[in-house]
């Protein structure tokens, strides 16, 4: 993975110094709350219900063992012994003290980490596929360009104060796993007819209050122009995006207001001036950064491993875990492993300090000292030998990281919600926990099969509820917490936004509602049909009828 040189290090060090002084001025009363707000936000610091929340950047989801050890230390010393991995592949601490934040950032800088632009109205952490570089369906590993873009977007002076937050995702696989269509800019890498690296550019997607899938603004962009083309897009947005209403300030609203054709025209007119300007990426720079993302020094291994095969045959628990948590790899004899941060009855995406140290050690021992965070809020060991899988499983299981539920109903994607977040309308973690308890039977979960359930505590949609096969949104009605349910949302190449099934529910009804949705699916499905396929085939109506029929009957 990428390693800092003295230039990268100087930037994070200078930022710590700058932020330390900003915090000092704020605490001394020299900066008002309003003036300090964008400064602290662009350093990842929110003021939350209980304490400030600090969001630390994990660029495109890549972490080293050393970095995760440091995060585990920080969790123990400055927080309450745990952290929360987010849908933007970042890590949040929920219990830090404002006065400690400069010190925390200084410690992070020691391991080449920062909290830059993890919040605020600027270009946010760039996200990608958690299997980048190892996925069998990968066409292009987008991480080198993602790193170049991370650097370019860091303190980009023209885009330091945009109308609203700005999210970019990159993907280079046949099956999109980075939700490029749900981002302000989505970059889909491919090889063009001349076998050169090219990019299909999506713009104006986003979830939040107004969920919209992006439109293609350019089918073919040569990779070296990606920075200047993004500058053209963001400049049009910076100048013309609405700043009078935060709910209408995302680029998707501008794209929709102008229409994609007019928006494209304005962007292309702008790009005519920017194209080939010095921010055009050179071959040399791509090569320099690309050296950090070359293949790992793999051993040459046979495609099969006898010890692994016999462990599968003799140990059903191990076999069940392998079925859900182990993923194919480009390299013979290697697999990727997802460590579940979704044990039943716990806050999805949370990891304790001890778990962070365990995972860091596992990565060190079995996966070249690196790991990834997925936007589904799990941790990935990307390069594990078949012959090591059993050991990894035993150690992960001992640390509570081997729930065999990856991609199943209880692998819930969930924001921190009303327990922590001051933006939330409703709690989300207790809903997730209640659903996990309702479905706490692994055989049954495996029978239900692949399904994605997403929960957001408010319109801001940090839990990506619109693209969950089942989506749950916390809403506020006259000061009490209710939950609106959507079905039929999906991430991927054939992404879709879910449909609301009807009036919202009280918290205690939610496990039953999910149960009834599953009942309809189990009754209606054909062989090999996943939940989402059934919804798409038969439509929302049968689900709606069953959920609300029961509800009305119960009220009689």
């Amino acid at each position: 993975m990428y390693k800092y040189d003295e230039i990268d290090q100087a930037i994070v060090d200078e930022r710590v110094a700058q932020y330390r002084d900003q915090t000092r001025r704020y605490l001394a009363g020299e900066l008002t709350d309003e003036e300090f707000r964008p400064l602290r936000l662009q350093n990842g610091l929110y003021i939350q219900r209980h304490a400030p929340m600090l969001r630390i950047a994990v660029p495109y989801g890549m972490l080293s063992s050393r970095q995760l050890h440091k995060l585990g230390d920080i969790a123990a010393r400055y927080d309450r012994g745990y952290g929360h991995f987010t849908t933007r592949q970042n890590l949040q601490f929920n219990w830090v003290k404002l006065a400690d934040t400069p010190k925390i950032l200084e410690e992070l800088a020691e391991v080449e980490m920062h909290a830059l632009q993890t919040s605020g109205n600027c270009i946010r952490n760039i996200t990608t596929d958690q299997f980048a570089g190892i996925a069998p369906d990968e066409i292009i590993d987008p991480r080198a360009v993602a790193e170049i873009m991370r650097q370019w977007s860091t303190f980009h002076p023209e885009f330091a104060l945009l109308p609203r937050k700005f999210k970019i995702a990159v993907s280079g696989t046949k099956q999109d796993r980075a939700i490029v269509q749900a981002h302000d800019i989505g970059l889909e890498f491919y090889r063009d007819s001349e076998n050169k690296m090219a990019i299909k550019v999506w713009v104006g997607g986003g979830l939040g209050r107004t969920p919209i899938l992006g439109s293609v603004i350019r089918e073919h962009l040569e990779w070296q122009h990606v920075l200047t083309y993004c500058e053209a897009i963001i400049r049009v947005y910076n100048l013309h995006g609405r700043r009078d209403n935060a709910y209408k300030a995302r680029i998707k609203i501008l794209v929709k207001a102008l229409g994609i054709d007019e928006f494209r025209k304005q962007v292309e007119a702008e790009w005519a001036y920017l194209k080939d300007s010095p921010n055009t990426i050179t071959e040399a720079e791509l090569q320099r950064v690309g050296q950090y993302f070359t293949k790992m020094p793999y051993d040459t291994l046979p495609a099969h491993d006898a010890s692994f095969d016999s462990a599968i045959a003799s140990n059903p628990a191990f076999a069940a875990w392998v079925k859900r948590s182990v993923h194919p790899h480009q390299q013979a004899g290697y697999r990727a492993v997802t460590l579940s941060l979704k044990p039943h009855g716990h806050a999805p995406g949370d990891a304790t300090s001890e778990q962070m140290h365990v995972v860091a050690d596992l990565a060190e021992k079995y996966s070249f000292g690196e790991l990834r965070v997925s936007h589904e809020q799990n941790l990935i060991l990307a390069d594990v030998k078949l012959s090591d899988l059993f050991s990894v499983w035993e150690q992960a299981r001992a640390a509570g990281l081997a729930t065999p539920n990856i991609g199943l109903l209880t692998d819930i994607i969930c924001c921190p919600g009303g327990d922590f977040c001051s933006l939330a309308n409703a709690k989300s973690i207790p809903i997730a926990e209640a659903i996990q308890q309702q479905f706490d039977n692994l055989d049954y979960l495996h029978d239900i099969g692949d399904i994605e359930l997403n929960i957001s505590g408010c319109m801001n949609a940090c839990g990506h509820h619109h693209i969950g096969h089942i989506g749950i949104l916390g809403v506020d009605k006259d000061g009490s917490e209710w939950y609106q349910v959507t079905i039929g949302g999906k991430q991927g190449n054939d992404a879709s936004i879910g449909t609301v099934i009807g009036p919202s529910f009280a918290a205690e009804e939610m496990p039953g509602v999910v149960q009834r949705l599953i009942d309809v699916y189990l009754q209606e499905r054909t062989d090999e049909e996943r939940f989402i396929d059934t919804v798409r085939r038969i439509g929302v109506a049968p689900f709606k009828a069953h959920v609300y029929a029961k509800k009305e009957a119960a009220h009689v």
Partner: protein, 206 residues
């Protein structure tokens, strides 16, 4: 004491700022943020009455609103020729209107950009366009809600003059011009991104 920074020093302001008078109740529409609306409807943020009622000092160097310059150009032309006239615009005004309202942008010894709220980042694109698209070479001043924590960005976007908000110290603000020694991306002040500026070698062990 002056609160005006030019380059990296604090200097006295030789320009008199001319503002549109507020007649009656100020409309909410004048607040920043509705360029889309202006573009779609052609609606202006000021009235003919305001322009007509604007008082212009008879002598000295004057910094006048773009709308006043456009409407009262014949009256002001001689001041421009004498080098005593500069123009300012608001971040929600359309830059192309300024460009088409002068024969040569470099006739202006100074252009001011007024930022009503410090968080309004349009000022950065405006500075960038003036310097790169329109080749403006003279003094470019930010004024209004100008605070030290935005100075580094303003500098990188082509501003070289900053009128720090009256209740803050320009002296303190000077330090922020040096917040970062080697920024990543090319911008107006240094067009080369870092990878063209210095020879970056991969760290020893990738």
């Amino acid at each position: 004491m002056s609160n005006l920074i030019v380059g990296t020093t604090i200097v006295d302001d030789e320009w008199t700022l001319v503002k549109l008078p507020i007649l009656g109740e100020e409309t909410v529409r004048k607040q920043a943020g509705k360029v889309v609306l202006f573009k779609l409807t052609g609606e202006k943020s000021y009235t003919e009455e305001q322009i007509a009622a604007t008082t212009i000092p008879a002598r000295g160097k004057i910094l006048v609103p773009l709308s006043v310059w456009i409407a009262r150009r014949s009256e002001l032309q001689a001041r421009l020729a004498a080098g005593d006239l500069a123009i300012w615009l608001d971040t929600h005004e359309v830059l192309a209107d300024l460009i088409s309202a002068v024969d040569d942008i470099n006739q202006l010894p100074l252009i001011g950009v007024h930022v009503e709220r410090f968080a309004d980042g349009r000022i950065f694109s405006i500075g960038n366009l003036l310097r790169t698209r329109y080749g403006y070479k003279n003094t470019l001043r930010a004024f209004g809600d100008v605070l030290r924590d935005q100075l580094f960005f303003l500098k990188r976007c082509g501003f070289d003059s900053y009128l720090i908000r009256a209740d803050r110290s320009a002296e303190d603000a000077l330090a922020s011009l040096k917040d970062f020694s080697q920024p990543y991306q090319g911008a107006v002040d240094d067009k080369q991104p870092v990878w063209r500026r210095v020879n970056r070698q991969p760290a020893s062990q990738p």
